[in-house]
Amino acid sequence: MLRRRRRRLLAGGVALLLLALLPLPIGDVYTLNLLILTLLYVGLSQAWNILGGYCGQISLGHALYFGAGAYVSTLLYLHLGLPPSLGLFAGGLVAAVLALAVGWPCFRLSGHYYAIATIVVAVIFYLLALNADFLGGASGVYIPFKGDSWVALQFRTSKLPFVYLALAYAALVWLLAWIMEGTRAGFYWRAVKDDPIAARSLAVRVLPSKLVAAGLSGFATGVGGAIYAQYVGYIDPDSVLAMPLSILIALPAVLGGVGTLWGPLLGAALLIPLSELSRSYLGGSGHGVDLMLYGGLIMLVALWRPEGLLGLFARRGGAGTHAGTA
């Protein structure tokens, strides 16, 4: 068991090294943009995976935490001058508090009811933001460009800084998931996921362990939102708080393999380039071919590999590489 964990960490280190070298030969802005988005979604989806995968609490409202991180870091920067490199932690904290506040009442619901409750709460906040003048309302918030800076996390045209920022983010969330896999809380989560009543009978404290998962997941998602805001330079409720975003955050993990270390990475590496490339090179036709491809792929995976793409490797490589069996 311990050896397997160490092996995974080693594999993670190798993956990190490879990913760090990957952008160096790429000079093309568009491809780098693709890499940034993919890495960002690796991190976001891993963040979702902590709550939705390991702990089994399916949240379809993670856009709320993403948006909270984006808005908090942006508004702190614009109104109080707090640099976004610090503001992203503030954004993460606010998102974590929100995740706990949502979790406290909603974790008493089980199964589908919890998922529905997360949708409803996220939509409420989306509507509130749409109508809140201090958040810029429906017109959104611009982040003015003030020159290249690691403190303000702004870069005129160079993409490499954001590639490494997104990589660091994805790597740290992965590391968080790896650490939690080995802790008592991590084991509690899997017990809660499998059978909450049986878990409770074995003295697993169900609500607190769900709350820990929610807090960590919310924090990591909020940080991702703050990075997104700095990268794009403009946020509005439709782009950082809307329902489709919640799905996009969950999708890579679901597609790649729920509750696994590598699922979100695999899912995002497949989904994000597919959606971006198909839009850029097929979307102009206006026939929606890109969206059909995207939807078709998800249906195929749902039909043939409902446990996620990682299942493909598990079958070939035999049991043991599949974390779901741990």
């Binding site: 802005v29 943009n33 429906a138 017109s139 782009s239 850029s280 102009g284």
Partner: protein, 410 residues
């Protein structure tokens, strides 16, 4: 021998002429996703204008209407590369970058949703490429001190100003001025911005706001809101609504037997042919601001030919949006032609010096001139009224094709 040399020379010259490099412009619209129709319409409007500039055809009485490419650039053709932003600001940003770095476009044009123009304009600023916003109406876009941003279209403040200017004019003419209005608007960016400006302008004009109703867009029923409008009994009802809601609103008014003395709409649903077809005679007399007047052929002689070309492509008439998109490309192409160069800095200089009289376009505007924020200050909107089932331009007088029907104060 001499003849042969001459012929060879002529051939060479012809060759050189035909080889004048294309001018590549990046056009970013939402071609798929939830506002795909507007993007597809925009694409057809752009293609129509590109064909007018590039192809050989009977001359059209407007700027660059003679065909055969850009005259000051050796007949260079305009080539459009379309990109799809799916109404997502992040994707709009990525596509703008792709067009600039991979396709080496000399200018960008777009983009319908104001949120996407927000990010495209930032990319344009960073890469120092001109971005011409043709149909985005959020006032904040031209209030950020951007130096590569230009907008031919009027923004929401200018649109609403036209309504209140009309109220003043018609009040003076008929002696029956507007004393009160009722605002009703959907709850997205469009309704919020529109009603915000209307509230301020009503206060400035000394007009009372008797009702101020926000409703959820695409709601299943507007009966409660309409009942409150009836109770308020204002002179003019001012809706900011998309098509479905506009239809619902007029039907609900009809159901409770309420006919306001006047309806003055903020474009959108009230200027959509689907709306007129759906409610028929109920829409009679409704007014809306618009930036295009299809019937202003007396003062804008190019309209019939341009509209016929657009119709051949799109199967429908030019409207408020497509006309603005088409003219946007005309203005950009003219700037490139005057610049005589495809260097972004030269194009920007030419854009800044733009001074096109309205009659050289199909728009009822005074003309096109940009202020220091890149906003066209001469883009005065018009007021249209549904008369006999058709949109007729009733104001301002120089482009009007019909007299206003005015029941306020009767």
């Amino acid at each position: 021998m001499t003849r042969l040399v001459l012929a060879a020379l002529a051939l060479l010259l012809c060759g050189a002429r035909a080889e004048a490099a294309d001018v590549v412009i990046g056009a970013i619209f939402g071609l798929s996703g939830n506002a795909a129709q507007s993007g597809q319409d925009a694409k057809m409007a752009m293609e129509t204008e590109a064909a007018i500039i590039n192809d050989a055809h009977a001359p059209i009485p407007m700027l660059l209407g003679q065909g055969g490419g850009l005259p000051h650039m050796g007949g260079a053709k305009i080539r459009l590369i379309f990109a799809d932003h799916e109404a997502d600001p992040q994707k709009a940003r990525a596509e703008a970058e792709r067009l600039i770095t991979q396709d080496h476009v000399v200018a960008l044009i777009g983009s319908y949703q104001s949120a996407t123009a927000a990010t495209i304009s930032q990319v344009a600023e960073r890469y120092q490429i001109p971005f011409l916003s043709v149909d985005n109406s959020s006032p904040s876009l031209s209030a950020r001190g951007l130096t590569w941003f230009f907008r031919t279209s009027p923004h929401d403040v200018m649109f609403t100003q036209a309504m209140f200017d009309f109220f003043k004019d018609i009040g003076a003419q008929t002696g029956r001025p507007v004393k009160s209005v009722a605002l009703i608007y959907e709850d997205s960016i469009f309704g919020a911005d529109s009603s915000g400006v209307q509230r301020k302008m009503a206060a400035a004009a000394g007009i009372k706001v008797l009702a101020d109703l926000r409703y959820r867009a695409n709601s299943p029923s507007l009966a409660a809101e309409v009942a409150r409008l009836k109770a308020a009994g204002a002179d003019v009802v001012m809706p900011s609504s998309y098509t479905n809601d506009a239809i619902l609103m007029l039907r609900a008014m009809h159901d409770i037997g309420y006919q306001p003395p006047a309806i003055m709409a903020q474009d959108a649903g009230f200027i959509d042919q689907t709306f007129v077809n759906a409610v028929g005679p109920l829409a009679e007399g409704a007014m809306s601001r618009s930036s295009f007047a299809l019937d202003a052929v007396a003062s804008r002689p190019a309209i019939p030919q341009v509209n016929a070309l657009f119709r051949a492509r799109a199967g429908k008439d030019l409207n408020d949006m497509t006309s603005r998109e088409l003219v946007g490309l005309q203005v950009l192409a003219d700037a490139i032609d005057r610049a005589g160069s495809t260097k972004p800095e030269d194009i920007r200089t030419a854009l800044r010096a733009t001074n096109i009289p309205g009659a050289q376009t199909i728009m009822p505007w005074r003309g096109i001139r940009f202020d220091q924020n890149g906003q066209n200050t001469e883009a005065n909107p018009v007021i249209e009224q549904i008369q006999g089932g058709h949109y007729r331009t009733i104001w301002p007088a120089d482009v009007a094709s019909a007299k206003p029907v005015w029941h306020v104060g009767e």
